[in-house]
């Protein structure tokens, strides 16, 4: 049988994949995609907990699913703003490579 730990482990591996993408890749759009992977890994563990902790009437705990709904909404808004910033950055610098954008570097 599938346990709660299986879902949490899959979610943790997905989070680690996204985290390594943020750390290792140098293309700013790929970094952005890896951020989305991390958000979705968090969503997966939230939904797994919502199914695991049933509420009193024997249905899944829908509070967690409402939180996932909010996370998806905020992530969609974040993607729109972030991609607009990337386009503005590309207009100014003609690059999407993070090592070429270092004017704020200490």
């Amino acid at each position: 049988m599938i346990t709660l730990g299986d879902y949490l482990a899959v979610s943790g591996i997905l989070f680690a994949i996204g985290f390594s993408g943020v750390l290792l890749r140098r293309n700013i759009i790929i970094i952005f995609m890896a951020l989305e992977l991390m958000l979705n890994a968090a969503n997966l563990s939230l939904v797994a907990f919502s199914r695991f902790r049933l509420s009193d009437n024997g249905l899944p705990n829908y509070n967690a699913q409402v939180l996932v709904f909010f996370i998806i909404t905020v992530a969609a808004a974040e993607v729109a703003v972030g991609l607009a910033i990337i386009v503005a950055l590309y207009r100014a610098r003609r690059t999407t490579h993070v090592e070429d954008i270092s004017s704020l570097k200490f």
Binding site: G21, L24, N43
Partner: protein, 167 residues
């Protein structure tokens, strides 16, 4: 859901998630991300969260990925040319990510709750759109309206950012 399907969709999700990171071509990465999100939506449905699964397909695999592909097309990005890799930074980043993975797995392995299976639902027909909607418009009405304002602000912000001259 039978265990074989869980492992199948989890494997699809993780393999394509890894391909997002590995691919050199941004368009191939974006398309792998679509498949990864479809696998994730299947996992949501295996947890009886049909509404969230459908929202995942509509919002992520539909709207967000079209936005990504549109921006990649707009910027006319090609496959990255090979650059000199800073091996010390690469090894450091890999080590940090790997340490995080080991910690997560260790924490999951040491909790008793993680070894329990999912309890059966009271009724097989969980009306989850109805229930999520009740919570959303009842208990969480104020956050819901704040989210609406947030989306409005994001829309205005994107329009301002994409003007050619910022004043």
């Amino acid at each position: 859901m039978p265990p074989i399907l869980f492992w199948l969709f989890a494997a699809v999700m993780l393999v394509f998630g890894l391909l997002v990171i590995i691919n050199r071509n941004p368009i191939a990465s974006a398309l792998s991300l679509v498949v990864c999100f479809l696998g994730l939506a299947a996992l949501f449905m295996s947890l009886d969260a049909f509404f969230i699964g459908i929202i995942q397909v509509l919002v992520y695999a539909g709207a967000v990925m079209v936005l990504f592909l549109f921006i990649i097309m707009l910027l006319d990005l090609r496959a990255e040319e090979r650059r000199q890799i800073n091996w010390i930074a690469f090894a450091g980043g890999f080590l940090v990510a790997f340490a995080l993975l080991v910690q997560i797995v260790a924490v999951i392995g040491s909790t008793r709750m993680a070894k329990q299976t999912f309890p059966p639902l009271a009724s097989q027909q969980a009306d989850d759109v109805h229930n999520v909607g009740l919570l959303l418009f009842g208990n969480y009405n104020l956050p819901f309206q704040v989210i609406g304002v947030l989306i409005l602000v994001a829309t205005i912000g994107v329009i301002v950012l994409s003007k050619r001259q910022l004043r």
